[in-house]
Amino acid sequence: MILAALVLAILTLGPIGAVLVRAGGLGDLAPGDLQALRFTVFQATLSGLFSVALAIPVARALARQTFWGRGLLVSLMGAPFILPVIVAVMGLLAVFGRSGLVNGALDALGLPNVNIYGLHGVVLAHVFFNLPLAVRMLLQAWLAIPAERFRLASSLGLTPWGVFCTLEWPLLRRIAPGAFAVVFVICLTSFAVALTLGGGPRATTVELAIYQAMRFDFDLGRAAVLGLVQLTLGFVAGLVALKLAPAQGFGIGRGRWVARWDGRGLARVLDFFWIGLAAAFLLAPLALVVARGVPGLLEGAGEGTWRAAGHSLMVALASTTLAVLWALPLATRRGELLSIAAIAISPLVLGTGLFLLLRPFVNPFTMALPVTAVVNALMALPFMLRILRPEAEQVARDFGRLGATLRMTPWAWLRLVWLPRLRRPLGFAMGLTAALAMGDLGVIALFADPDRATLPLQIHRLMGAYRMEAAAGAALLLLMLSFGLFWLFDRGGRVHVED
């Protein structure tokens, strides 16, 4: 526990420290920075609120309705979160852009067009990315309510409102603040999405200011200050969320899927409305990414693309392993708090700091893939813990005393109780980590290796060389691989969970 926390702290604060030392102290903020800070917090708050608010009816609908393809839909809906930013933006524009599907339909109906660019576009894009995550976090918790409780509620003749107050509200109170915090913190470091869909410099975020300071002005002091501001924001958000979310359990359940008694009639119609809406919103851009990518992929992705795919897979698997090992000892309240700061750390500051720290000892170029794997594991850790911690605590509450009287060794506890009981959330968390690691550009700006490109880097290179079609093909490959990994882990966690 202490070791894992220490490594985490060193990796989060070390790089900022290194940048600060190199800069010789804190720099001054530029006049636009305060405005960027305001915009960043504002858009992240809105994005978090909308993502979680929309996730509530969707997760509830998915929790109580069964239908053919439900499992696949739940898996598929996770895909936006794992898309590389550039690919996702293209998919979103193909639907909501000026010449996208929505405006095409509006034109056909003779209605005025909608303009996606602006604050609402930023929020829309962030909801697109993060709604799946929020839905899954809520759904996970929803499924953790023992079905007996719902049976009890219906035998008591509770109205839907009554069920909400007695069962679902306590659940939301426990999970929603954490989900909000995670989305908020992710959106804090948004840069390319915010800029592109924000429609211009109005949508300047702190991360963009860091980029400018670091890459254009070479003002490390200012970059470090901004990085610290961002980290503090994320940390405070995490702190508030954890304060708001009381860690209370729902007692031991049978762990079995029992059909819900509620959710019939009008509720059923409403549920399917929400499911349909979310599916259309999330899947339409994905479908267009696929459609655009097919020609490029059929033409042959090229040897470099396949090699890059191989590297990405390696990085993803290494990151996942690392993140699991890291998450095991940190699945506590304090561990989660510590980790939430990790998403708020600017990837640019992190990359530069690691470069400064590692350079005296190793050649940064040869470290490209390992560093990418470590950074991706670090970035995925907060998600892992958010997903695992409530369930891990539940397992400890339900079986901790039994394990103790049986004098189970820590290893036996881990192997026989912890891992099997946490299969579902662990599979989900691992799938997420793997997919995130597949899609992340990581710290390539300073740790690039000409022969070991990852797939996202390959996509950028293809686009940079005008090969938009090949890039779309590579993006489709990336989507398939990310999703494949996600699906494998997620499914793996869900087989045989009936007993």
């Binding site: 079986f399 103790a404 049986l406």
Partner: protein, 233 residues
């Protein structure tokens, strides 16, 4: 003997205090009103709850950590891991490191299951067993653990009267076999009468010294009379 000296447990509302001595091999019922602290007392003995005072087994002070105490405990529920087979659940009593059992140990598990009337049920999962069968499986594990103190926190309260009686008889056999001290929290005076040699009353923040069962029920203490519905005279 199990000796509890100068016990003070901080609880919501009222603290629980008392001194207690119980002999090896004794069967003791813990009676008292709801919320008086019966389960809390067991938790303290098992080590799940911090309290002031000294707990001694024979002459030694009991270790701090529950896993280091010579105690088996059966909770109200959740006594078996639902995702493991019965055999696997029982195996943990012999190999707390979760490793595979030796053939001899496997034989022990089979015998323990047979002993509680569950021969051949090893490969099944707890969810496929009836409540009574689950209780038996848990008891079979207590048998395998072979520890000198057994704590029962109303583990049979959900069973029907006939089944409960059967289980109590089984516990008695197991305890005799192991020569173990058994402390059983219960709500039912009948169970106590049938099973226990002595009764510990927990009431009004006080853990009373054990009283021989017959004597206890002959002249119940005032605190207990109120609980079972007898008017005070």
């Amino acid at each position: 003997m199990l000796r509890i000296e100068d016990l003070v447990v901080t609880m919501d509302g009222q603290d629980l205090t008392g001194d207690l001595v119980m002999q090896e091999g004794a069967r003791v019922a813990v009676l008292g009103p709801s919320g008086a602290g019966k389960s809390t007392l067991l938790d303290v003995i098992a080590g799940f709850r911090q309290a002031d005072g000294v707990l001694r087994w024979k002459c030694d002070v009991l270790a701090d950590r529950p896993e280091d105490r010579p105690i088996s405990i059966l909770f109200q529920d959740g006594n078996l891991f639902p995702h493991m087979t019965i055999a696997r659940n029982l195996a943990l009593a012999l190999r707390p490191d979760g490793c595979r059992l030796s053939p001899v140990q496997n034989e022990q598990v089979e015998q323990a299951l047979a002993r509680v009337g569950l021969a051949g049920m090893g490969p099944r999962k707890p969810g496929t067993l009836s409540g009574g069968q689950q209780s038996r499986a848990a008891l079979a594990r207590v048998l395998l653990q072979a520890r000198p103190i057994i704590l029962l926190d109303e583990p049979f309260s959900a069973l029907g009267p006939a089944l409960k009686q059967e289980m109590l008889a089984l516990v008695q056999e197991v305890a005799d076999e192991l020569g173990a001290l058994v402390m059983m929290v219960t709500h039912a005076p009948d169970d106590a009468r049938r099973f226990a040699q002595s009764v510990v009353l927990v009431a009004n923040g006080q853990v009373h010294e054990p009283v021989e069962t017959e004597a206890f029920f002959k002249t119940p203490p005032a605190a207990f009379r109120g609980y079972i519905g007898q008017t005070t005279d």
